[in-house]
């Protein structure tokens, strides 16, 4: 999970990236160079920093409490013109299947926050989990599985190939869950957006893992 935030005139980001905080910070700064950017290690630090010094812009998943916190959705990141992507539930033990997953321990990158993670999982997998392990980075998921800290992991499908460059652990796919949105850009209520700041080329967007940015609210 990469989090970047600023106290003012800034952009805060909360999503599960494969890069480090510093790399994302640099990539984002290259794209939004007039904004101050700071990195945070986890969703809880992101939430805390937002309460103390809300950023002008936030890049977050659809589970971000935009309305409650005084933001409006401005634009939606996409890959190949799609707003949504797949997440896969993987295990190394074939005993786990869609009918018994609620009895197991699940590991995932926390990009929705501790308090929302149970309803989030229930929404996308249709079941309640009692035992959940949250991590801050996708690359910690496979070691959790190998060392049997969890019975299964929820991982963005597009990341699997990259992570398998490092970990050769054979896995079984339990299911592909209900689609999850890519992050959106949210802007503080009543703040006027300079649209030019967010007009990014495909090449620029590819550097942060996307191919297009669809404006949803022309302010």
């Amino acid at each position: 999970m990469i989090l970047t935030t600023v106290s003012a005139n800034g952009i805060a980001v909360s999503y599960d990236y494969l890069t480090t905080n510093e790399e994302t910070k640099v990539q984002l700064y290259n794209l939004f160079s007039k904004y101050k950017i700071e990195a945070y290690p986890s969703f809880s630090f992101f939430e805390k920093s937002q309460k103390l010094k809300p950023a002008d812009f936030v890049i977050a998943s659809s589970y971000f409490d935009a309305e409650v916190l005084g933001y409006k959705k401005y634009a939606q990141f996409q890959i190949n013109e799609s707003d949504i992507c797949n997440y896969t539930l993987l295990t190394i033990n074939p005993k786990w299947n869609i009918n018994n997953i609620q009895d197991g321990k699940i590991g995932l990158v926390d990009f929705v926050g501790r308090k929302k993670i149970k309803p989030f999982l229930e929404n996308i997998l249709g079941t309640k989990f009692k035992r959940i392990k949250r991590v801050t980075k996708p690359e910690l998921l496979y070691p959790m599985l190998a060392m049997q800290s969890v019975d299964m992991i929820l991982i963005r499908t597009a990341y699997i190939k990259k992570i398998q460059e490092k970990y050769k652990l054979p896995t079984f796919e339990i299911t592909i869950c209900k689609k999850i949105s890519y992050p959106s850009i949210y802007v503080k209520e009543n703040l006027k957006v300079n649209a030019k700041d967010f007009q990014l080329s495909r090449e620029q967007l590819q550097k942060i893992g996307f191919t297009s940015l669809r404006v949803t609210n022309h302010k």
């Binding site: 480090t20 800290s149 490092k166 970990y167 652990l169």
Partner: protein, 319 residues
């Protein structure tokens, strides 16, 4: 002056209340930098929802002082971060057999040392072999298919697990038992000094995993055998960062626990106890999940082993 009485009464009542109810989490830890960092990390993760008291101890702190602190703070969860704190917590549970205080610990060898203490759960501080071996494979240009490890009887259980993990990863873990000729210090010393190089040449593995063991890595064996062996041409890898320092110049690659990662892992135990009604017995002990990596590039160059430069992004490289 009724408002004075009201304020005084509120003050007294709130103190009485907090004395009755207690704080949520008490962290007892050594005063050193790493433990301070881990404690601060835990505090930052949980202080939005729970109160935390941080209690650093030093070598002169007595059990009575620690017991007094626990009695005063009345935590719902006790966190202990180093050997001394864990020892005090063990004595506390022995002296208070009716206590149901859950204790989250971080330290070495916890699965064995705390096996008979049902109040404890937590994170074992040893760097898992899985991280060390897969991490090195990822940066090594030469494919890593086999690893040699010298071990003692006490390592058997752990190595069995790692061997299975490595099997899934397509890597053979080959062990050499250094207590074949006896388990005393001098038996082990002699075995290592007389057989190490031959074993290396016999097995011809792609790397050697060095276990942090004082008897195997003693002053009688380290300079005489381990250091010269590390120059032969097979990379040595370990879970001790200083082994790949420029000063020691022993291992080519090492991993070490990451403090913020440990804080995050420990916090999850605390949340599980406070919010999910989990017990220490159910939670058990976990291995360190997040590690930092160090590559001694000059050592790799010395033994003429190449690395994959594209895979060095998250690694501390010593040139």
């Amino acid at each position: 002056m009724n408002w004075v009485k009201v304020i005084l009464l509120s003050f007294i009542l709130s103190n009485l209340w907090s004395n009755a109810v207690g704080e949520d989490v008490l962290i007892i830890r050594s005063s050193s930098k790493d433990f301070k960092e881990i404690s601060s990390g835990i505090d930052a993760e949980i202080n939005e929802d729970y109160t935390v008291v941080d209690y650093p101890i030093n070598p002169s702190t007595t059990y009575r002082e620690v017991e007094k602190k626990i009695t005063k703070v009345k935590p719902k969860v006790l966190v202990v971060l180093d050997k001394s704190s864990i020892q005090f917590a063990k004595i506390y549970t022995e002296n208070h057999p009716l206590t149901n205080l859950p204790i989250v610990a971080m330290g070495l060898g916890l699965k064995n040392s705390l096996a008979k203490y049902p109040h404890f759960c937590g994170v074992t501080y040893e760097v898992p072999g899985y991280h060390i071996i897969t991490g090195f494979r990822y940066i090594s240009k030469k494919p890593i298919k086999s690893i040699l490890v010298f071990f003692r009887k006490k390592h058997v259980k752990m190595l069995k697990k790692v061997k299975e993990q490595m099997k899934l990863e397509g890597i053979r873990l080959i062990g050499v038992h250094v207590e074949k000729e006896g388990a005393t210090h001098s038996n082990v010393t002699n075995f290592i000094n007389n057989n190490f190089i031959n074993e290396l040449k016999k097995h011809r593995t792609d790397a050697v995993w060095v276990l942090p063991d004082e008897m195997m890595l003693s002053k009688e064996t380290f300079e005489k055998t381990w250091i010269p062996a590390s120059k032969i041409g097979i990379p040595f890898v370990s879970g001790i960062r200083k082994f790949s320092s420029k000063k020691l110049n022993f291992c080519s690659y090492s991993c070490a626990p990451n403090n913020s990662g440990i804080s995050h892992q420990m916090s999850q135990f605390i949340f599980a106890i406070l919010e999910d009604e989990e017990t220490p017995k159910n939670l058990g002990f976990e291995e360190v999940l997040e590690v930092g990596q160090t590559l001694n590039l000059s050592k790799m160059n010395l033994i003429r082993k190449k690395v994959l430069n594209n895979n060095l992004k998250k690694i501390e490289v010593i040139r």
